[in-house]
Subunit: 159 residues, 12 copies
């Protein structure tokens, strides 16, 4: 990985580590936007409208997160890979396997499980980034705060 | 493929054919949103800002197209698959292979080529849908009109 | 039916047939706006808010459809009849019989049944209008696309 | 008429009288929205645009009045009937008989006459409601204030 | 209670009686804003989103009511007490005792009971104010109209 | 005074009395808009900006009151007189005599005195209108509520 | 007339002359706002709505002109007089004498005549101000441009 | 006519035919925007304001139509000619000959006649484009729908 | 040229001279709107988007200028001619000859040359109008200020 | 305290400590919203309007802070207590004792003192949260930044 | 100073004189934006909020003035110097010497003195520009009008 | 440096160190706003518009940063110096030396170099502030994140 340049105050070695962490987050954020839409289209049952509409703002949030992660990679001198094949290749977490028209409860449970890994991965990334680049860490801290809020929304449906 | 129900006036057999065509369009529309963002993040050179900003409204357009295609599948009684693996599995067109920081010209050329197949596939779908379901055909007719306008934008940069 | 004038390129005989079809659509679109409000006010039960709020945008949609149908009749040189007695007189479809405070499920089932005929009537109208006046056909094609989307919303509650 | 519940401080007997008065107002408010649109579509002559556009805000006003009347019935524990047949059945005032394309003056005169009874009925309802339920009376007081303003608009055209 | 001044046309004695009534309404309106938020944060179950979001606009409404009641006290020459201790001290109605994460149904029932006393107290205040100050009475009449509408929303969930 | 027509349910004699009361209110509301602007332009001193800006929204309020009073006169079949000479001719209250650049305190004191009579006149009008026309009374009740709020704003500066 | 201060670069003598001219314009601009509203409320006949609504934006324009003229006087160190008595006292042009409910044509003719003097007075003011204070002249130049446009609107009704 | 490129799926021969049809529509749409403004500035008489204001939204509509037609030509690989001389050169329909200040009725009649040919030309173009390029046909179908609505507005003034 | 009326303070002879100057400006402003759109559609090359989008706001500006010039002619009692043939007939400046798809640089150069004459003509008009009618001169002064700003935008691309 | 669930990566023990800290912040934020309104209604004196209006945006800020603190507790698996009794029970800081109509200076001094403890408590919470949960710490860091800005506003009045 | 080009109708010699005058105005307008913010941050005392907030809109106004002056220099073919050193180098007026936290009165007095020279310099520039370039003169005339209005605001605090 | 007060929890010694760091950041943020505008006005060449428009949002960002830094100094009890002389006096980084009309590439290179030091200085400030005051550190962390994003925009033009 040859960098185009570095941010003033960050070495090339540090920058490369940060880029690698962010590329993983970018891929999961892009996947989350697809997976959420997948649920948005396939839920059914008595709470259809409420769940259908609850998902869309979260899609906008993770699409925006992907934009921030990718642009941060570019700022660090790297080149983000945003194609669908990169999502599949970088995935070291469990994919969402639920398909077809299903009850709102079934999709909510599947999303809660998906967010368990999503949040854990973001928190691990923060721990590593804190030592490398405070700005990148701040970006992912903001991301995980939104993910944890949405997971609460999902969990509250199941109580 | 077992349908949940059918639209008044459409048989189950016709509905299944329409769903199959729309699932292909959905996958390419989702891929296009990822591929356009990929270019958005990696272009560079003297025309950086203009090209960078020209792409974002088109991302919104193809995301909205995917939403319309997927919701039409649900209206027809089917179940759209919107996960990244579905994009890779359904792809019977050439993927965009360009990666890394590149000149605006290089990415524009790659996108023009990608849109050649994208538009051709939409026009083929319209021809088939005209015989099956006029509402679905109208939806894709609106989609291709926007794609052809954006391809002109891309081409005009190369003249 | 004496026409006030005709659109350039349309004969009087064709115009009268188009007007007759559109008057039927107008009456059902007006009735739908009343019937949807009727349900909006009488639903109750655990999903009250979601269903109550889901209906209002659809009321705006069918009121706007009625406006387009009636104004098209005027453009063709005819005179639309928009009074409540015209709705009752022109009704050759089943009226919605459900009254009183009822569960959300009961009203949704009644509306799905009402929309079965509503959509079928619009699709029949399109088949006839295609031979008579492409602009009027386009108007009803747009109407039925919205009706089919709303019926999906209703059906998804029952899955 | 079996009530679902009563508002704290109102007896069942009083509530039923209030509901009966409000159902009559609801039906006339719904009819007014249809009748105004009927005029909106059929007027013609030199003042076409001004009259055509003056009517639409009034349609929104009476549709909103119907919403308030019907929701008040539900708050009182009753069940409003909003279907077109209820309008025809509850009508103890003169219907608007004018049809077809007519001069703006003809429709304005017909609407002034229609509003004579509409306002008189609202004022009678206020007198009865004052003894029964101050909140319901306030609602109709607001309604008649708007009706009297619109009637002035109509009358000012005829001076 | 020494008044700073009086409104032209109102005696000091009348003003003091009005102020005393309004201070009670102020305290309950402030408490309602806290209690509604308390429910907003603790509901859970399949209808979580719909109930969670239905409460927030009502919070804005009662906060605005408190503002009007308090500012009316100041206009009358009095000094409103808006601190939490005043709420507890002035409370002569039952407090909301439900705590902890609970089903949407449990909180809705508790709020319906709370609103029974809230509405009854407002209606008693109106009866007294009608003899003292028509402007203050109008203010509370507007308040109770909104409370009765929200109670209907709550009740409709339980049918 | 020959009326053009009457509102359904109001006799000509009653209408004339109402019009006479409203014409007086119209003149004072118009004068108030001029007098407030007069103060707006001439205040000075350390609180200049706050007082200068506090007055403008009140000007909009009384201009809107004048519009409502005048249009009510027209609805009743009368003809409002809105010219400056009518203000001077109808004035049976003390005029505002303060002129020239003065301290904010001086203008606030003068306005408090002006509002004493303004409010008293409105309250007298309400007492008379209550017996004649409830809609006109409601209009002035709304007006005086705003006036009393603004007088509190003025008084609070002097405490 | 003792000035509070002068604008840098303007003598006290010049300032006083400018103030005197602007006070006359202020009074007529205030009167115009009253006179236009007077017409707004009293017009009737077939073109009622169009004329009624055409006047309101012009009222806002002359109210804004009055604000600019008065604030300019204050900037010059003078004290504008904005009370109704000042309008009557400063009036050296013909007052608008038309009263009562009249046809739109009658009021338009009266307003055209009123604007003849209004415009002539503004043009005379500009000629004098050009020699005294360019900023004040610019202000009145902008005012007269709007007046001449509105007079065209009035005149076009009479052709 | 040498094309810069073609849309995927359209031959060069077909594209040239489509471009030729669209260039004619472009010229008439541009001329219509000029002709409508010409009427907008020259109408007079009792209905001046209503007609003057009714025209402006239609100007925006035909300007937007010209934009769509011209951009479609560019998308097809052609080069639109948008200069005034192209309008005059391409005109094979009757020009609008009415000039000078005239009554609203005179200009409305002239515009109705102009729109007779305008609509007929668009309908002929649709018939030809249906065989050549469905997207271009859809564009002109949308255009003619707006033209026919505006012609109804014009005609309704004359009834 | 027979005038319909004159503005108070302007003789018929002066008015006719002003109208003649403004008619020339109107024709060039209308032509500029067409010529700018012509360039907007035909530019190509690496700076396509930036130049394409830079032109549209300027089109709105010159369309608005034409509106002001034409309405000023009407205010002066004249009758503007806004048809395409008037543009061609009144043109005593060089037309823009560039056609077909061309580089952004080529169109920018052609527009710079067109604006050289456009600005010079406006400045000549101002010099003449200063002696005749200050309001008309102010209007064209505002116009030329915008033209000179846009010409700088064009020139800055060529440096 | 039995938790409903935990955030991925946070133990139950840590979560309970965080919840306890946040409940204290929630109670003070709720109290602050009441106390600020209390001041908003009771201030008087020459700076009345400026101080009155300066407080309202801060009320919105602390209400929003309470919402964030409470929702964070729910995300952590806890149950926030938002009732007025919880404020009084959790208060381990000095209450605001000032009541009645008082000078702006008196209330500003009382609020400065209240904010001294408020800010100190938030800063202590941040120090503890930094070791437990970075997201919760970030939330309170944002809160205290706004509090310190508002305290400056208060202090600047006293200088 | 070598010009890049000249505006049609302006010689190089005249352009250079205009540029020199505008560069001085640019530097003072930029300095004013800094000096006003300096006061905005350092004022204190009972009128803190009103003065603090009164300054910000004026900062936007002078920043916009600087933009217009600088862009006018570029339009004339010159090159504006907008760096802080240019402000210091071009300053031939007294700098604002007040620093540190001070009473609102102290900063207002200092700003009144600063504006004395600022306005005088602008008026001198207008006198010179009137002979050279009417468009540049118009720009500074608009600027000084806003400055004189703001100085009145400042002065009114001191009366 | 005598402080006016301190934030609860921060000693006077710590506060003074923080203020000193923030004053340096304030001066550079103010200079950046001037330097960016300087480039905005002087760039030229084929990418003129895109670069010209890309700079303005960044000017707003650094102006807002200056506001936050200065207000934080005031909150800490210090007195920010925002005059141009303070910028020059505090500058211990290289000034931007490029002047005159230059290519977009030349100004972009100069700005990239300027931002190298700007970012490095902010990162050094963060390291120091982390030990002194977490709120101030958070403020500058947000600032540098925006600066690094803008530097990427600049760099991407040069690739």
């Amino acid at each position: 990985m040859a960098l185009n340049y570095t941010i003033p105050g960050l070495s090339e070695e540090v920058s490369e580590k940060v880029i690698s962490i962010l590329q993983s987050r970018l891929s999961q954020e892009q996947e989350a936007s697809l997976v959420l839409k997948h649920a948005h289209w396939n839920v059914s049952g008595p709470n259809f409208v409420a769940v259908h509409e609850m998902i869309d703002p979260q899609v906008d949030i993770v699409l925006n997160q992907a934009d921030e992660s990718a642009e941060r990679i570019s700022q660090l001198g790297g080149s983000p890979d945003g194609r669908p094949d990169a999502i599949v290749r970088n995935r070291d977490w469990a994919e969402l396997e639920l398909t077809g028209t299903q009850s709102t409860e079934a999709y909510i449970k599947a999303l809660v499980a998906y967010y368990d890994e999503f949040i854990q991965n973001d928190r691990n990334a923060i721990a590593e980034l804190d030592e490398l680049d405070i700005v990148s860490s701040n970006i992912i801290q903001d991301h995980v705060q939104d993910l944890e809020k949405f997971q609460w929304f999902l969990r509250a449906h199941l109580a």
